[in-house]
Point group: C2
Chain length 295, copies 2
């Protein structure tokens, strides 16, 4: 049981975790922290948090579990703000989509080692953002990746693991570097493609018409381009090396595909599509439906 949970950044992820833990009866008190008073007011009004604080130093006081749910670009300043204010035995975890940068930020900013830090990443979310979009079931049957470092206290990992299991998630441990590689491919790359596609179409002369004749497939394909630009900017900057690698890999393969279409090379085009469909169908069968946890 968490005595006092402190959620720093009460948006979709932070808000959903707070709601889920409350619904599971897994915490006594929830303190929310945001720079914006209106976010705290909204979170209080929705019953997501019990108390709101504008300053991180005050918010973390007396908390036994602190969750950093701020954009990656705000992690370093969050560590700076909580440094020296944590209660004895407090555990800190985060929900950032890249992990090496979080570990680096903590090491640079905090005085001494950080055995209390358990870097984490829930593989869940929608293209919506903000506390109003949060819901208790967001993490149900979702995976959460924890990337403890050699200096992370095993007991801290166990407590964070337990927290995520309370909201129905499956918890996995992985090396932070490996996490960043895998997520560059499955998440950061698709977001870059979706944003770029929508932007390319939007800059075409007949763009009004183009969007008018876009069908359901296009809508699904570009859904992730409605994601929070600040958050995704931060992810791209934070995981730039791995992202550039996968982007270049994709770009090279796309060139091969373009040449095949230009040359009318039926065999290459057909085998590309057949392979991709088989993979997608196999993957789809192996996982649960993405829409099932939507609110």
């Amino acid at each position: 049981m968490i005595q006092r949970l402190c959620i720093i950044g009460v948006g979709l992820i932070g808000g959903s975790l707070a709601r889920g833990l409350r619904a599971a009866g897994a915490c006594e008190e929830i303190v929310g922290c945001s720079r914006r008073p209106e976010t705290l007011e909204k979170a209080l009004e929705l019953g997501v948090i019990d108390r709101g604080e504008l300053e991180i130093g005050r918010a973390v006081e007396g908390a036994d579990m602190v969750v950093l749910a701020v954009p990656l670009g705000a992690m370093a300043s969050a560590f700076r703000a909580l440094n020296g204010h944590l209660a004895d035995g407090a555990v800190v975890t985060d929900v950032g989509s890249a992990k090496q940068c979080v570990i680096r930020a903590a090491n640079e900013v905090c005085d001494g080692p950080t055995p209390w830090l358990v870097p984490g990443h829930p593989i869940a979310g929608t293209e919506k953002s903000g506390v109003a979009a949060s819901f208790a079931e967001l993490f149900s049957e979702r995976r959460v990746i924890l990337t403890p470092t050699p200096e992370t206290e095993p007991q801290a990992v166990a407590r964070v693991r337990d927290m995520w299991q309370q909201v129905g998630a499956e918890v996995i441990e992985m090396d932070a570097g490996h996490h960043d590689q895998v997520l560059a491919a499955t998440s950061h790359l698709p977001h870059m493609l979706a944003y770029t596609l929508v932007d390319v179409l939007g800059r075409m002369e007949e763009h009004e018409e183009i969007f008018q004749y876009a069908a359901g497939g296009f809508r699904d394909f570009t859904r992730i381009a409605s994601s929070d630009p600040q958050m995704w900017h931060d992810i791209c900057i934070a995981n730039a090396d791995d992202l550039v690698n996968t982007l270049e890999h994709f770009s090279d393969e796309l060139k091969v595909a373009i040449e095949a279409v230009r040359a009318g090379d039926s065999e290459t085009i057909k085998s590309l599509f057949v392979r991709a469909k088989a993979l997608r169908d196999r993957y789809t069968e192996a996982t649960t439906d993405s829409s099932k946890n939507a609110p």
Copy 2:
């Protein structure tokens, strides 16, 4: 009222049109044509068609409305097979995703002018295929683009327009060349990107793991990579010129984005994401929900 409707190719699109017209009481009799006896048996069993024929020449006999719902690569041979078998006053339309190639195929294959041909394209579909996936509401509130040529009989256009309106579609007329440009951008390009992305990830060393950690956004993004490979191969070949143009345009913009990530150019990345999100959100508000007509 259509007296005898002939659907050549009883798959998702052909089957859904037959179901929709029957549900609307807009046709007397439905003849289905397929090269595969098992498709006709399935369509008969599901009540989608009243009678099945394996040969196009026989299938179109006495029909006043013929719908070609075969892959683009099969259009030329379909025109060849129906040539000389059409009843007086029969109208022929198709549902192909590219339109100039259909007009070219008809002109090359048929004896003399084709005033009875109304090229068409319903902007509807799912990643599923086959008559078993068909449903009467597929075209409800969807757009259908007709691309008549100067030689198309206006009365034939009116009859095809009426047919689509009977199943709830909104019908628009457009030049075939313009259609192919617009659809290359909104439909053919995204399909190429989705197929290529899934293939790229599938060829990575850790691909099993990659698909395991893919979240809901990835699932939506790659849904169109589960589309029928043969059909999409045909579309890419048929609309190669326009597709290569948009692919190269996309590829160039992607290079700009890659360089921005590599350089840590926050301003370029952020403004790209902000523009794309604003466009996607505006477009989403202006159109109906894609999932609403799903079965």
